[in-house]
């Protein structure tokens, strides 16, 4: 068994692209999105 992992350098180089992508999918009104997320407690 094995797991294919990445090197830190590669991850570093990819961060800018990743942040661009996150920017494009992140809920637009963060304030409201976070405020409206209310749960009843569970176990």
């Amino acid at each position: 068994m094995s797991v294919v992992t990445k090197k830190g350098e590669q991850l570093k180089a990819e961060l800018d692209d990743l942040l661009d992508e996150i920017d494009s999918v992140l809920e637009e009104n963060a304030e409201e999105f976070v405020r409206n997320y209310v749960q009843k407690g569970g176990q």
Partner: protein, 495 residues
Amino acid sequence: MAVAKILGIETEYGVAGGPDYDPTTASSIIVNAYAQQGRTRISWDFNDESPGTDARGIVGVGSLAPMIETHLANTVLTNGARLYVDHAHPEYSSPECRTPAEATLYDQAGEEIMRRALTVANETLPEEMSISLYKNNSDGKGNSYGTHENYLVARDVEFSDVVRAMVPHFVSRQVVVGAGKVGSETDVGQAADPAFQLSARAEFFEEVVGLETTLKRPIINTRDEPHSDAERFRRLHVICGDANMSPVATLVKIGSTALLLAALEDDGVRSFPSPPAAPVRAIRNFSFDPSLRVTVDDEDGRSRTAWDYQDELWQLAERYVQRYGGEAVASSDEVALILRQWREMLDGVRDHPLDVADRVDWVAKQRIVEGFQSRYDLRPRDAKLRAIDLQYHDVRRDKSLALRVGLAEVAGDEEIRDAVHRAPRSTRAYFRGECVTRFPDAIVSANWDSIVFDVGHGPLQRIPMMDPTRGTEELVGPLFETNLTAVALVAALNG
């Protein structure tokens, strides 16, 4: 001798949206959506449930058994899992698995099941009522819900030894398997006011040992409900962990805990490090400190960081495997993988966090939170950063941030899709899953340790499954080949 570590993970998902924003209604819609598109609507059987039974043998004053809502949606799936509504959350309880990699696979199958249920549910709802689901553990406002792990343990291990041996791991393993969290939300968390924590769940723990799971949550839960032969087994119900998005983190969380339990059974409690003198303070303070420098004193006055505890526990597990083999947990290949990943993640968080950002959830999350913070010059705990934290756990493929940060995989997509429908072959879940797949019309109800058949004549027939290591494909597979009807199967089992 260590018993086979039969394993399972139960996850309560966070739920938003739905008619009138009512979480119980939304949860029911999710569970029913999945049940209705499947072949079966077999309900859960509560006959053998006793969540109020305490492993310490006494039930403390003020202990509350969890509420069981029998009128809510509650189904058994063909993969042997249970999908139901618990405490206003949809919950997926994985089938019993034989190894940590298998438990990880079925945890991911649970995510896929929730994703499919969500798609079906939202197709039937007007857009303004559309539902979203989050595989996380809190809402950022002080409300928490659980991701519980289950481990089969030999009954002859004293419960007090389980507590003494396992508390060091449960307070410190968040260093490698914490899911990370922006800010804090309990009184004690707000007093410490961390910008970022290792664990989503740690700040909610108030006791070391106890029966409760919703109030005054304990690091070690004493619910003694083995769902098996209580003379031989106990089921350790671990409630202090985070929901992991990283499959390697799930593998290491379950694998490390299972190896340490096996070491306890085979070698006793003496080889374990002394627990912190104040475990509740330890689990919180370790979580509040992503720099990993905070130390706590153990019962003998020795001071350690969470990293130090993990280092000692890794060595203990490694020595155990050298000496006894790890067959109680998994194949030698898989055990070697668990030990290697645990070690790499542990060294990584201290020396080169970026090298493990593809495996350690809190590092992956912190990386994008800090990246965003510096790109937009945001203050710590800004709403945008909290939104990233929440959306990291979004179940939807088009929204999930965890699916975008490059997390390493344990199982392939095809294997996960197969596990959505097929039970593990390696435990009694195989028998349950095959029965539900082949004879849905003849099954009245099912639960972890029995199935009730209506064979059309005479009384209902309960088939007990008190040993979770039996009912495997190897043992009962031939029965399904020769008995093609429920009547024949029940007759063969009774004969």
